[in-house]
């Protein structure tokens, strides 16, 4: 049984078909990259998987560990172990980073039947993970994403991933707006999460990120459907010939 399965997903937005039959199988321990030009449906795919309102499937199925995700609300999917690292993380004025993290982690733990963290216990755990991501204490005291630079926002997303320990993580253009140093830190953070039990789906335009987070499989998404799949060398092909070349050949 695959960890994440997308079966022939069709989705419309404002009456326009965006996903035109996407199918994907992601197994435990795998890292898949989804690449594609602007407008190919990458963000739509990630919102659809995460269960955002308005992004329901017309037809098709999505399964997490065999369980139908279609019937679960966004928060239920999250508690079941689905994580989305946002491309543009939104600001939450007045909501302290540490409290936010704790609430998120505790709701996952509650779902799993594990003991929830109390305030002090959590702070210890958070600081440990935060230092790995070069997230300073001071940043956790600030309101979530308020006044954060692009790099800080992405680092905070990956910190959340590290603390939530999801089964399937979808990284939506995590590299956008990052300089090389930030890219390295974020990639190291992601790679540290890779293990035999989970899976990661990396959505990106550029091959560069995939130098650091080396995928097992690469898929090209164009006009709402996956037109080609291959190994990491497929990404290099995109780099060389651009999307147009691949799309024409398909």
């Amino acid at each position: 049984m695959s960890l994440l399965e997308i079966k022939n997903a069709h989705l419309k937005l404002d009456n326009k078909e965006i996903l035109k039959g996407v199918s994907l199988s992601v197994n435990k321990g795998e890292v898949h990259a989804i690449m594609g030009p602007n407008g190919s449906g990458k963000s739509t795919l990630s919102y659809m998987l995460a269960g955002r309102e308005g992004y329901e499937l017309e037809t098709g199925e999505i399964l997490l560990e065999g369980n139908p995700l279609n019937e679960m609300s966004a928060d239920e999917r999250a508690r079941s172990g689905l994580f989305l690292a946002f491309q543009y993380p939104v600001e939450l004025p007045g909501v302290g980073g540490m409290s936010f993290l704790r609430e998120a982690v505790n709701s996952r733990r509650k779902f799993l039947g594990e003991e929830e963290f109390d305030h002090l216990g959590f702070v210890k755990e958070a600081r440990k993970e935060a230092s790995k991501m070069f997230v300073k204490d001071e940043m956790l005291k600030r309101a979530v994403n308020v006044g954060f630079s692009g790099g800080e926002k992405k680092r905070f997303e990956i910190l959340q991933m590290a603390m939530l320990k999801p089964k399937v993580s979808i990284l939506d253009e995590t590299d956008s707006g990052l300089d090389v140093d930030a890219l390295k830190i974020v990639s190291e953070g992601v790679n540290a999460q890779r293990n035999k039990e989970n899976a990661i789906v990396v959505i990106t335009h550029y091959q560069r990120l995939l130098d650091y987070i080396v995928p097992d499989f690469v898929h090209i998404l164009s006009d709402g459907a996956i037109i080609k799949s291959g190994g990491p060398e497929l990404a290099l092909e995109v780099e060389k010939n651009g999307y147009a070349g691949l799309i024409n050949a398909a």
Binding site: S73, D75, R79, G96, E103, S107
Partner: protein, 483 residues
């Protein structure tokens, strides 16, 4: 057959007592319906008040008769019939239930969410419990501690007897009898309230809470509170209760007067959750309160912090009169209006002394079909040179059927003062909600988190225990408003 003399006498006796029934029969638990001079006298006599106070009440009553119910606020309610209200009922007439099983399950659910222990739940819901031992022992140790410092904290009805000079000197000095319609009414018929006196140089060692007033069993319909802080003193006073309080009386018109002398500070915090009525607002409580602080002394400071989530209608403007040079007035408020609630609340900062400073931070949250109005007045008199005011009023709208209104009045009569006013209006964005949902929080948790973030600047002014309860309360009062 001719009636015996005994019968004739008996009949005479009975008919006489019908004529003046309620005056002679002081054992009555309730005054008859309505308000007139005799009722005022009845209340005063029941409380065994000295004559000067009765005269004061009568003056207020006569003034009230000349006034009209004010209609300028953005709140809508059927005209109150004052002849249809009981203006006095002795404590202990509150209907007692036998157990929590008889209490409205909705109420119990709220108590549980607020984490209130069972014994306290029983007390709040009006279940007949034998808690006398507990409250007496707690109140006793508490009072002893205060007495050692010379601090007076007792019901105002007691203060009238034991400290008449103090009461006489200050009552009505901040809010005169004719100040407004409801203050006049309160002055005539006030039942009880807190009296606090902090002597010179004393810093009150603990937060004074209405919970500790022994008489606090009956929710006062017309509460009257008077707090006096002498030179160089400090007190923090907590009013209210996060647990929803039902009351058979619909109108609550309290009066709170605060007086701060040189270098004194009074911190007054309120968490109010009166019953808001059903989804259509029926049966809810009207909270029409007059609260004012007199910063009499130099460098005196009075701060009002309020979290208002209940009542069908909230109509109040806790204010500060900044007389002493360099005195400071602060107002921090979160007002939540959901379903059919209405709120017209704000503050008045009157700058009279030089270099006085005021800060106003108001957070209004509207949901359902509620209407929430911030009404503020910043008055800088000619004498108040070098004064400063900073006002920030933010509104958060949840859903598309509610309303938020801002009515600021700024009157500045000296060019050397500085007044700043900022206002924002926002909605809880779908992006923000989705972000929280994607982290495993359900809609209610997410809303509560975002709303509390919105209110943070105000919440951090509340004493800690109150702040934790208030946060939970805000979350509960907005249940069902999103999604």
């Amino acid at each position: 057959m001719v009636a015996t003399q005994e019968t004739i006498d008996k009949v005479k006796e009975v008919s006489q007592s019908y004529k003046y029934g309620f005056v002679t029969n002081l054992e009555a638990e309730k005054a008859p319906l309505g308000l007139n001079e005799d009722i005022v006298k009845f209340i005063s006599k029941k409380k065994k008040e000295p004559n000067w106070l009765l005269e004061w009440r009568l003056k207020a009553y006569k003034k009230w008769l000349t006034m009209k119910q004010p209609k300028w606020a953005m709140v809508d309610f059927p005209e109150i019939n004052f002849q249809d209200i009981y203006f006095y009922s002795a404590p202990k007439t509150k209907p007692k239930l036998n157990s929590l099983d008889e209490v409205d399950p909705e109420l119990l659910k709220t108590y549980e969410k607020l984490g209130i222990p069972i014994k306290e739940q029983e007390m709040l819901a009006g279940v007949a419990v034998d808690y006398v031992f507990d409250s007496v022992s707690v109140a006793t140790t508490f009072r002893e501690k205060l007495e050692k410092e010379g601090i007076i904290f007792c019901p105002i009805s007691e203060a009238v007897h034991y400290y008449p000079e103090l009461v006489k000197k200050y009552i009505g000095s901040v809010i005169p009898v004719g100040d407004n319609y409801y203050a006049a009414l309160n002055s005539a018929v006030f039942t009880d309230g807190s009296f606090v006196y902090i002597p010179k140089g004393v810093r009150c060692p603990m937060e004074l809470s209405t919970y500790f007033r022994i008489n606090e069993q009956n929710s006062g319909q017309f509460e009257r509170t008077l707090i006096i802080a002498e030179d160089d003193s400090y007190v923090s006073y907590l009013e209210g209760c996060t647990a929803p309080q039902r009351d058979e009386n619909q109108l609550h018109a309290a009066v709170v007067e605060l007086i701060a002398m040189d270098n004194a500070e009074i911190k007054y915090s309120t968490v109010q959750n009166w019953y808001p009525g059903d989804k259509d607002g029926k049966g809810g409580i009207y909270n029409f309160v007059t609260k004012r602080g007199n910063c009499l002394g130099k460098r005196s400071k009075i701060s009002w912090t309020q979290v208002e989530t209940g009542s069908a209608i909230t109509w109040k403007y806790p204010s500060c009169v900044l007389r002493g040079d360099e005195s400071v007035g602060e107002f921090y408020s979160v007002a939540v209006a959901n379903n059919a609630q209405q709120a017209d609340t704000g503050t008045k900062m009157i700058h009279i002394g030089k270099n006085t400073k005021s800060t106003i931070i108001s957070k209004g949250i509207s949901a359902g079909k509620a209407q929430n109005t911030y009404r503020g007045q910043v008055q800088i008199q000619k004498s108040a040179s070098g004064s400063r005011n900073f006002t920030q009023c933010d509104s958060l709208l949840i859903g598309d059927k509610c309303g938020a209104h801002t009515v600021p009045y700024i009157n500045q009569f000296t060019p050397s003062a500085r007044v700043e006013h900022e206002a924002t209006t926002s909605k809880i964005s779908e992006d923000q909600l989705f972000y929280c949902l994607q982290r495993g929080l359900d809609t209610e948790q997410a809303t509560s988190l975002i709303v509390n973030g919105f209110c943070k600047e105000v919440m951090k002014e509340l004493p800690m225990e109150f702040a934790v309860e208030a946060q939970k309360l805000i979350g509960i009062s907005l249940e069902g408003s999103v999604g």
